[in-house]
Symmetry: C2
Subunit: 415 residues, 2 copies
């Protein structure tokens, strides 16, 4: 084989393993479009040089006829990836090795602190985790950062981070620049709801190329994945599902409009609707208790919220024709009526005979932001910038699942 | 330069010229990511071998300081592309050379004939055009076919054409297979509204990567372009804007739902609303006459239709954050109130301070379907299937405009 051709093939195999974690030879062959014979030559050489290793886990036994398929992965020591999720009240960090196993994770609270303090706390947390675990970050290949609020990013382009909390007169602080300086690695930043949407594409029976994600929390946010890629939109605002009007005469919304779905279906809006109808609920726990004893007011408010969510998702589904619709947020777990009503309304919004998307609950919880950032990192193209003359290959759909390992939660192979 | 590297560079230069028509050296260098020096070596060799030629038009004078930039294009004789648009009542054909100049075009009526007859008429038309013009199709590189109705296609994958008009019991007839057999060239097929959406991305001051398209005709249809690519959705139904509910208690729709935007804003729906209010209008011409004398009933019905369109597009815009929204259909020209009201409603659906998309009328008319199919062909990846180991390069945004040439309408360079 010609040396340049061999090197190109090797790079593609390494890239697929970087993106997907451990894979069987058959999965690699399909993903890179090489024959088994050619692939065997390439993987043999990579194994010999220690760039990749053979791994075998319980999950592998599920493949095919039951005979465990040997799976290959990047040498775990050959790289590390860091996921960081900045929430309004806490930062979370998770570090995975090149085989996608989580080797370090932790979080710290900061309660709405300004941005420079959030950054400083994040770095302290990262240092403390290193001391506690003995893991150093010498092989860091990239950092994925989730931030609250709209964030514009174009594939393959590194841009400054949002400076939402930089005080007037203070020097602007870019999370992206700060992490890039600290670790000397490429950094991608995006809205954390969008990263969660991307992370949800790797769950279930197959990796989903077209997915619509909505999360109910203090607000209502969303994210779109089309053709396997996050949609950012022309100014970084794609997926603003929360501000779609569902009741033109409804409550005033913080965005300046009236009757946005957020005014009916965010957690604070649901609690307020309950209180307006005489049901004393201050927190989600109170609502959970009311649901527990089947309080009709709670049920009616929750169904109304679910219907509003369903109208927005049904409309978005007619526009985008996704394979899956995923609804996230703790309230989905606490109050099943929201989810049930949303499913019914989504179905009603589709015309009879139209193929309807699968509607499911989110796999990642609100506390899994760092895992979402890691998943996005594994799937992002900026890290491939080292190969500018060989553009991102279209990889074949590969089936993935989250699995528990002895070292925590990892993104791995279901079969 | 290594021979394999040189060949890869040459292929990328040819591909960019195939996709965009004539370009200056600077535009080519940006699009393929090569230095001017390397590019100069590549283009010199291609020019010497006659694979590309130097072209210079008025449009080139607009580039930079006013000094005309020499532009390069594929040798016009080196390839031909055919666009075919099957409507419900007529077929249109346009053939362009490798430099994107239209060399042959024509159309023929068939008035709702079954699919095999439509195909036969298309082939007869194509043969007749060849005889009349003296143009043969020996250099045909690809055929783009637009069909009415939903159509599923995945990028890079050739799939059988929709057989919507094949009578029960009759053998299925695939337009794609028939054209592929006839011309021995790759064939892409998609819904013609979606092709029109893609074609609209090349108009204006810059090629638009994110565009939302809606067309008002016998029904209401749509198409989405995200990141420069057509969105098909998981089952080929993306862009079904016509069946979004705007009035839950509205008229019954042919889809089985009630109050879809199509029941308020399609041309037949608008005419019916006028008649229901005592204004005798049978055809679009009657409506045009009523608009001409500022009939208040016509104005009110048209504003109501525009408002329904605007609600759907405003919602879709919050979801997708497109750079441009394009509204097409003859009624937009005949009845400006629809367009004006749609713009106002779209603006109202965006929250204050949000970046709003540019809303404009379609450049291609309903009769330009074959040009839409050609534009889609120039931008489609299936034709690149000859280079499976070198996936589709991300080309830099390049500014395009439609221009008139001595041989008709061509997709060319604004500067």
């Amino acid at each position: 084989m010609h040396a340049l051709v061999r090197r190109t093939h090797e790079e593609r195999v390494l890239r697929v393993l970087r993106e997907h974690g451990a894979l069987s030879r058959g999965q690699i062959a399909r993903a890179v479009g090489l024959s088994r014979t050619t692939l065997s030559e390439i993987t043999g050489s990579l194994l010999q040089r220690g760039a990749i290793v053979v791994v075998d886990t319980d999950a592998a036994k599920r493949e095919g006829s039951g005979r465990p398929a040997e799976r290959l992965a990047l040498d775990p020591a050959s790289g590390q990836f860091m996921g960081v999720d900045f929430g309004h009240r806490r930062v979370q960090v998770a570090v995975a090795d090149a085989a996608h196993e989580i080797v370090v994770s932790g979080s710290d609270r900061y309660d709405d602190a300004p941005w420079p303090i959030r950054l400083e706390q994040a770095f302290q947390l990262i240092d403390r985790l290193s001391v506690e675990s003995g893991v150093h970050y010498g092989a860091l290949q990239g950092v994925g950062i989730g931030v609250p609020g709209p964030y514009s990013t174009a594939p393959g382009v590194l841009i400054p981070a949002a400076d939402e909390a930089a005080a007037p007169g203070q020097p602007e602080v870019s999370a992206q620049a700060a992490f890039a300086r600290r670790f000397g690695a490429p950094v991608i930043v995006d809205n954390n709801t969008r990263l969660a949407a991307l992370a949800e594409t790797v769950f279930g029976n197959s990796s989903v190329q077209d997915l619509l994600y909505l999360r109910i929390s203090d607000g209502v946010g969303g994210g779109l994945v089309v053709g396997g890629r996050l949609v950012t939109g022309s100014t970084g605002l794609a997926g603003e599902l929360g501000h779609i009007t569902v009741d033109p005469n409804g409550r005033a919304c913080r965005c300046g409009k009236q009757g946005c779905v957020e005014t009916l279906a965010s957690v604070p809006a649901i609690l307020k609707s309950c209180r307006d109808q005489g049901l004393a609920v201050e927190h989600l726990d109170d609502l959970a208790a009311a649901v527990e004893r089947s309080h009709p007011t709670a049920d009616q408010v929750l169904r109304s919220a679910g219907s509003a969510i369903g109208r927005v998702l049904g409309t978005a589904s007619l526009i985008l024709n996704p394979k899956e619709i995923v609804i996230g947020g703790e309230i989905i777990r606490v109050a099943p009526a929201v989810f049930q009503q949303a499913i019914a309304t989504i179905a009603f919004e589709h015309f009879p005979g139209a193929a309807k998307p699968l509607v499911r609950r989110a796999e990642l919880s609100d506390d899994d932001g760092a895992l979402g950032a890691l998943a996005a990192l594994f799937h992002s193209s900026p890290l491939l910038a080292a190969y500018p003359e060989t553009p991102d290959a279209t990889t074949a759909p590969i089936e993935c699942a989250r699995r528990k390992t002895n070292r925590g939660v990892a993104y791995g192979r279901a079969h």
